[in-house]
Assembly symmetry: C2
DNA sequence: TTGAAAGCGCTAACAC
DNA sequence: GTGTTAGCGCTTTCAA
């Protein structure tokens, strides 16, 4: 392949003129432009500025240009300036692929989220999380490659991406207790960091949010508002996240000296209908509970439906809290526990960056605090 | 850098044994393993199977291996099989970066969505859309690079990605009337396809959903249910998408011989509060409208709030329809217009693939049909 | 039908 | 401080 210099030489113009001509700049008269274009054609040259063009333009070697690009302190200021000017004049941008080949890296981070067949198990916070993730990654010179992963695909998509050198590392979310991806990535020695903790047997960097604390915030808020008979709707025992939230409720109640009869707790599948039934079971207690804490926003929504079907008012007759602070919580004025999405993304990227530099910090398991967003659903308690 | 063959020679074992030893296979006795590892160490070799290792293992040249990888018909079946075995035995995977450098492509597609400061303008369907996008791209051997783009960033992020050879093309969504990204990409001759139409002056491939038709579906459904006095809540005129939906309503009413007084139409900003006020304005008409069509789900939610505050029942006293079929619509039983997300993603990727092969089909502007998801909010009409 | 070798654009050891 | 040059792993022309 010919270079820009070859074209310039053949057309008997400066490299600058050749470049200007090829980009069709108005500064160059049309006759010269035509001559240069003819020269380029005859050499079968297509405009594509490389490090060699910059070197030729600046009258230095490619090494020098490379050093300038990479901010090496070796280069004399005058030379550096000359190269910088060349880079500017030719609008040069280093080719990432070539760099990556040389460095054997991609500066790409793989991320997949779960798409369940169950439509209710969607990912309402994906837009926020992914945006933050991408932003943090970009701040470190990386980009996010989003790929697909069905429920049954296991480690396959990860394998492929690693084997074809598509990514340097991964961010995982929706981590399960015995997540096969974690074992696999550890074995393959591929850097990764997760949002969510696993079983504790593996040692790997993760960020988690204190789910116990989240529920405690909700319970304590209700107690402060004067509630004492507080029910709980949560997932049936066995699910890590559900167990943690249930425990948070039990702990908070105990700490406040409230004895919880079994009938204040109702387990529910993750649908409005089941949650509505769960609310019904709780509210048949006498005396009737005045508040219900829910393990997520969907369940809270179901509970709300049931309460309103009784002709009672949410926030006044029965207080309600959710979890996750999904858009629906804002919409229906539901007090909900918010996870610090931006902070999670930041920290998990930080952890991954450390992994990729093969320097795992001592504190590579990070626990973040949730916060309670108070809305109308728990605002005004009319003491019965 | 030494090759696997060098290591095998130094340890006086076969390449197969050398490979097995280095991956720590149980089949190789520990003494041999140690010897091979020592040889690798002394050569400063790190296991990394390249096309040259495969060639050496199969006793052919790299050219032959390359041909096999790329399914060239030139290779004799026996040779092909030998190479295939070598690839299998060494678990070889071609390095994508090297291929990309050679081919001057990345097999990456850039995609960014809008993240507005306004939290209500979130992207509740991103999880679906992005998943479908990634899936279709992967079927073509491409991956999605998600990057960030604030409201004010204009074409900058696109520029950077192009200049650094990060992507081969783009998918755009949230396209505005005079979207600067479109002009820029056309000028730079970078392949792209959009979800959403622009002003019509530019010629580029896009997929759009017939918004007029969507509203018509809603109106016709309501009329079929016996409604005649049907109001509309939409964005104030001037927004492309809003204007289309408003027009859909006007057309459908006209086609059904219903004259629409101005007071049946209320414009609203995209919040529940404004939509509630809009609903109020509509419902002060006498005789009172029995149904309200909304330009999106958020507005429908606001309208629902107002209707219920009147002690009226949605679906029985006042029918309501939304648009977008966001998760909230399902949750509250809102009849809503659904865009065919999977089909959109499929078609837009198809269009982009064609662009990247520099072969734009004649039908490169595609209009897809929405569908109406009927739920309780328009289910039972009690004729006044 | 297969192989030798040039080269994609870049980095960095080594030489001067 | 700067230049020469050998690769990174792959594809592909040209030759045999």
């Amino acid at each position: 392949m010919a270079t820009l210099k070859d074209v310039a030489d053949r057309a008997s113009v400066s490299m600058s003129t050749a470049y200007q001509s090829l980009i069709g700049a108005a500064e160059v008269d049309s006759q010269t432009q035509a001559a240069v274009k003819a020269a380029a054609d005859s050499l079968n040259y297509e405009l594509n500025i490389t490090i060699r063009d910059v070197a030729a333009y600046a009258g230095v070697s490619v090494t020098t240009v490379s050093y300038v690009i990479n901010n090496s302190p070796l280069i004399k200021p005058a030379t550096r300036q000359r190269v910088r000017n060349a880079i500017r004049d030719l609008d040069y941008h280093p080719n990432t692929t070539a760099r990556n080949l040389k460095a054997n890296e991609t500066r790409m981070i793989g991320y997949a989220w779960h798409v369940a067949e169950d439509p209710i198990r969607r990912n309402p916070l994906l837009d926020l999380f992914l945006f933050e993730l991408a932003q943090c990654a970009e701040a470190h010179g990386y980009h996010i490659l989003t790929f697909t992963q069905s429920n049954r695909s296991g480690t396959k998509p990860y394998e492929t991406l690693i084997n074809t050198n598509r990514v340097d590392g991964f961010i995982l979310s929706d981590v399960t207790y015995e997540d096969p991806r974690i074992g696999y990535l550890i074995e393959r020695k591929v850097p990764f960091a997760t949002y969510g903790k696993a079983n504790g047997k593996w040692d790997f960097p993760y960020v988690d949010v204190d789910g116990k604390r989240g529920i405690q915030l909700a319970v304590e808020h209700l107690i402060a508002r004067g509630h004492e008979r507080i029910g709980l709707i949560s997932w049936p025992p066995g699910l890590r996240i559900g167990d943690i939230r249930t425990q948070g409720y039990l702990d908070a109640m105990k700490q406040n000296g409230i004895t919880v009869p079994e009938s204040w707790i109702a387990y529910s599948a993750n649908t409005m209908e089941h949650a509505a039934e769960a609310a019904q079971r709780i509210l048949t207690n006498r005396p009737k509970p005045t508040a219900i804490v829910c393990a997520n926003d969907i369940m809270a929504f179901g509970a709300k439906r049931y309460v309103e079907s009784l002709g009672l008012e949410i926030g006044t007759d029965v207080a309600l809290t959710g979890y996750d602070d999904t858009p629906v919580a804002e919409l229906i004025g539901l007090t909900s526990v918010r996870q610090p999405i931006a902070a999670i993304a930041n920290r998990v990227i930080d952890l991954l960056m450390a992994e990729m530099n093969r320097q795992r910090p001592a504190d590579h398991t990070i626990m973040l605090e949730p916060s309670l967003i108070i809305r109308e659903s728990s605002a005004n308690f009319r003491r019965g």
